[in-house]
Amino acid sequence: MTTKSIDLSLEIWRQKDSKATGDFETYTLQNISTDMSFLEMLDVLNENLTREGRDPVAFDHDCREGICGMCGAVVNGIAHGPEPETTLCQLHMRHFNSGDTLVIEPFRSRAFPIMKDLITDRSALDRIIQAGGYVSVNTGGAPDGNAIPIPSTTAELAMDAASCIGCGACVASCPNGAAMLFTGAKISQLSLLSQGQPERKERAMAMVTAMDKEGFGNCTNERECEAVCPKGISIRNIAIMNREYVKASVLG
């Protein structure tokens, strides 16, 4: 573990609110420790801006340990930055060199309107889940946990899909602004488990319809979503979703 200090030039998208037209502003930062996380680097920038009486850069973040899915921005054209399977909060500055210019843009898509600077409105993803991303079971009256045996390999596959953090990087990176990986992961998780069987068809139809209604694009199998997904969720889940959707719409 060797700690270095680097100097950076930042080009950051600034936009006052959802109605304003934004533009890039350039900032320079000196003596950034390579042990910092990307968001800590932005904290330093914001402290500097505040001390100069300028408006700090607004960005979403919360857990800062890569699980809540709140943070995210596009760094030099890649959602969550250059490290694979890493959220922006877990990206460390040791992956950059002194003198680098970092272009930082919000997650863009028609379905994700920008609220301010790097903050976008990703509530469309919530509405996809609301359309059917659940098992309709009320509290109480569930059978004993062991009454529903699940093979461990199936549980593992379901867990792979379920590990989605809902950050929206898949949408941001998709050349078509599609939300197929997000939607596919949930449909796939529930279609793998026996708890999800009774509503399997309705779920696939409802979630895909909701996804289209929100203005997300179509999948042309570009694989960008999979490449930037901080949880490494496979596009196999999209194939499973396609299968589920075809089964539900053709076979009824």
């Binding site: 080009e11 890039f24 596009v74 030099n76 054209g77 890649i78 959602a79 272009v103 843009e105 863009r108 898509s109 028609r110 379905a111 990176s173 998709c174 050349p175 078509n176 602004g177 599609a178 203005g215 997300f216 694009g217 179509n218 999948c219 042309t220 199998n221 570009e222 694989r223 960008e224 490449a227 930037v228 596009i235 196999r236 999209i238 194939a239 499973i240 396609n242 299968r243 589920e244 075809v246």
Partner: protein, 196 residues
């Protein structure tokens, strides 16, 4: 897209099989064409069906392209891809348009030409250096289109399973290379004067 794409791949197979007769001789090819055209009903159903499928594929592809561009909204300042080797997938619309252009020219010359002497038409056609080069470029475009399209079709049909993925990833190379070789061999043969 996937359904029409699948039909078009099947068409390519039959077309390639027909073409293969040229490797033997122009005469055999002429015989194949004559045989084909002795069943006008089949030809008319198939050619109209093919035209329809092709049109649907091209139109939905273009609409999809426009729709998706709208869904993307504003692009990024830095345009880059996280996926390596994404040239084929990101140029589907362009390779598609090239194939469309080629198909128009090709049908104008070949399909609407005199079927009675199709073999001669072909050999005369490929005497021209530029026509041969145009055909070769179109076939490379087709191979590029297929190198994403074939896998993409399977993925859309939901065919993605660890057990078969190795085979599928091999096929994504084999299929386009196969068509590239078999189609471009013809102009090459004529170009280098070995076609008869």
């Amino acid at each position: 897209m996937a359904i029409t794409g699948c039909c078009l791949v099947l068409f390519l197979c039959s077309h390639a099989a027909g073409n293969a007769t040229l490797f033997y001789s122009t005469q055999l090819f002429q015989a194949y064409a004559d045989q084909l055209h002795s069943h006008p009903l089949i030809v008319s159903v198939f050619s109209k069906g093919l035209f329809l499928i092709f049109a649907v594929h091209a139109i939905t592809g273009s609409l999809l392209f426009l729709q998706n561009r709208k869904a993307r909204g504003q692009g990024y300042k830095i345009q880059t891809r996280a996926v390596k080797n994404s040239q084929a997938s990101s140029t589907m619309i362009y390779s598609g348009l090239l194939i469309l252009l080629f198909a128009l020219i090709h049908t104008a010359v070949v399909s609407f030409g005199d079927h009675g002497k199709i073999g001669i038409t072909i050999s005369e056609l490929f005497d021209s250096f530029f026509v041969s080069i145009f055909y070769l470029i179109a076939f490379i475009g087709l191979a590029l289109h297929l190198s994403h399209g074939f896998w993409s079709m399977l993925q859309t049909f939901g065919v993605n399973h660890p057990r078969y993925n190795k085979l599928i990833s091999r096929l994504t190379y084999v299929v386009p290379v196969f068509f590239l070789l078999i189609f471009s061999a013809i102009p090459l043969l004529f170009l280098f004067g070995t076609g008869q």
